[in-house]
């Protein structure tokens, strides 16, 4: 199979994530879309590592996974605090900060 298909797949996943962040309302789902984008980048890294014939890209994908895990910790902490004080995880409800 042509290896460039993986690049297309990664671009499609990234686009789904990027659009999801914009159109979805639930903070958790928005956050999942961000994770999808990070994983799309990972797929691109691994594919390019294969194409370029070195392992730098594979190493990069490990770093991304660790960073994504840290991001989950911080992100869920913020989203849960938000939910506890408003009983809602909708990003539309968070609209106090306008002038």
């Amino acid at each position: 199979m042509d290896i460039s298909n993986y690049i297309y797949l990664s671009a499609i996943l990234f686009t789904i994530g990027a659009i999801g962040v914009i159109v979805r309302r639930n903070a958790i789902v928005v956050f999942m879309c961000v994770e999808l984008m990070l994983n799309a980048a990972n797929l691109a890294f691994v594919t390019f590592a294969r194409i370029n014939g070195n392992i730098d890209g594979q190493i990069a994908s490990f770093f991304t996974m660790v960073v994504a895990a840290c991001e989950v910790v911080v992100g869920l902490a913020i989203i849960v605090t938000m939910y506890r004080s408003r009983r809602s995880a909708s990003v539309d409800d968070a609209s106090l900060l306008k002038r």
Binding site: F31, F48, A60, I78
Partner: protein
């Protein structure tokens, strides 16, 4: 056969010292009695930053591109930017430690019994200090990093603590939590773009290091679509961090919602780190491909300057106003990147120092203007402040004049040198727009000054609380730096000149 990498600990030390201090801070959180904790944390943090500054000063003349294999470079620009970040962070820590900006217990629901009792018990969220140190370490690594993985990791190290700290305000907690949520979601979104761009640059060049990318770009060895995609996505991530249009929309909200000392810290230090990293990427890795990115950055810079200057006029909240002013400054800083010459880098370094101190000073004034419910950021209630407390209002005006670029303040020299550099680089258009927007922005700054000094105070006017020694010190230092750099700019310009190099 596995060979262990060679690390040059001597030159990594400033970053490692900060990380060690942050870990000590975590230990203090666990083992020191509640009543002593805030004091101990402050001293640990201040001492850490001081030791790091001294260490950086000792090794300032050493140069190496291989201090952590080839992932971190220690060159003039690194030294200057790390030094700037450390000094600004020192003052920001003093602001952070000042009474009552932070929530007693972040996990307590706003308005609940838990919150009241946590308040009565005199709890305080002293985790802010280690979090600040972690953020500083990321900020120091970001402009020094020379490969895409290190850049991404540094970006996250500096961002993650800031997301949390944005949500820790004592007053108006819902606003603060909202700011944290917005900052986090948009920040994570933009770092995903940064990473995806990095993947494509890697796909283009087959190398993660900036030098490898530079070599591939110079030889144009690869698929140009990958290069263009890589540059654009990487740019999105970086422009978000420096708060440039059209990726600026988080800035006013986060600056307004976050606790004021944190706003000052991130406005000053994040800007230094992000502009430094952006300059390194474009000067070192992509300078051979400037036909593609220079027009884009030029347009973005012009839009950012105009938007910041015009939007600042439409808002009545002091913190939002300062946020829009910081957006406008992001536009001016981009001029230094477009210039792409040594004097452009020198001007950028000088600009960062001038802007950083004026910003810290301005936000420390905001922490002082209060009523019974805490800080007041509504501009209508600042009317006539100059008549009641001329000194504080005068300092605020000085910082605004510096933002506006009036002669005899640091802002003037900063703008002048950055315009000169762009003109030398042959970018006349951007200079014309820069001067025009400076004029627009100046109108706005002068309007605030009229409001403060030449308008009669209203009945619900606010009072300026007596500044504590720490805040007075920050205010005085920022004011002195702003004036001295305006009157004798050569002190810092010469230093910036000798440090303004990127080792390749």
């Amino acid at each position: 056969m596995f060979t262990s990498p060679h690390l040059n600990y001597g030159l990594l030390a400033p970053i490692l010292i900060i990380l060690a201090g942050a870990l000590v801070g975590v230990g203090v959180e666990a083992f020191v009695r509640k009543t002593l904790r805030a004091t101990v944390q402050l001293w640990v943090a201040l001492a850490t930053v001081l030791v790091a500054v001294v260490d950086l000063f000792i090794v300032r003349n050493q140069r190496s591109t291989t201090i952590a294999i080839d992932s971190v470079t220690f060159d003039g620009a690194t030294v200057f930017m790390q030094g700037t970040i450390l000094v600004l962070a020192f003052f920001a820590l003093l602001l952070i430690s000042d009474r009552g900006s932070f929530v007693a217990q972040a996990s307590a629901i706003p308005g609940s019994q838990d919150e009241v009792s946590a308040d009565l018990e005199g709890k305080s969220q002293t985790e802010v200090f280690p979090l600040t140190l972690f953020a500083i370490s990321g900020m120091m690594l970001f402009p020094a990093a020379t490969d895409l993985i290190t850049l991404f990791v540094a970006l996250e190290i500096l961002s993650l603590p800031l997301y949390l700290m944005a949500g820790l305000s004592r007053r108006r907690r819902l606003l603060s939590q909202e700011a944290a949520l917005k900052y986090f979601l948009l920040g994570a979104y933009s770092s995903a773009f940064f990473l995806f761009g990095g993947a494509f640059l890697y796909g283009y060049s087959g190398s993660l290091s900036l030098n490898g990318i530079a070599a591939a770009v110079a030889a144009s060895a690869g698929n140009d679509i990958f290069l263009l995609l890589g540059i654009i996505f990487l740019m999105v991530g970086l422009l978000f961090k420096i708060g440039a249009a059209p990726f600026h929309s988080w800035t006013p909200d986060v600056y307004q919602g976050a606790p004021t000392p944190i706003t000052g810290f991130m406005a000053a230090c994040t800007k230094v780190a992000a502009v430094g990293a952006m300059a390194r990427i474009f000067y070192v890795a992509l300078s051979a491909d400037l036909v593609q990115w220079r027009p884009i950055i030029t347009v973005i810079s012009i839009i950012t300057m105009l938007l910041g200057a015009i939007a600042a006029m439409t808002t009545r909240d002091v913190k939002r106003t300062l946020a829009f002013s910081s957006i406008a400054h992001a536009g001016f800083l981009l001029i230094g990147i477009v210039a792409l010459n040594q004097s452009g880098l020198k001007a950028t370094l000088f600009y960062l120092v001038a802007y950083g101190f004026a910003t810290l000073g301005a936000f420390s004034v905001v922490t002082l203007v209060r009523d019974s419910a805490g800080e007041v950021t509504d501009m209508n209630r600042w009317v006539g402040l100059g008549k009641k407390s001329p000194l504080i209002a005068g300092a605020f005006c000085l910082f605004l004049l510096s933002f506006g670029g009036i002669p005899l303040t640091s802002g003037f020299i900063a703008k002048f040198s950055i315009f000169t550099a762009a003109y030398e680089g042959g970018n006349t258009t951007i200079v014309v727009f820069g001067v025009l927007t400076s004029a627009i922005a100046l109108f706005f700054y002068l309007r605030v000054i009229v409001l403060l000094f030449f308008t009669e105070p209203k009945s619900d006017a606010v009072s300026v609380s007596i500044p504590s020694p720490k805040v007075s010190f920050v205010l005085a230092a920022s004011a002195i730096v702003t004036i001295v750099l305006g009157v004798y700019p050569s002190i810092l310009l010469n230093t910036a000149q000798s440090f303004a190099t990127f080792l390749r």
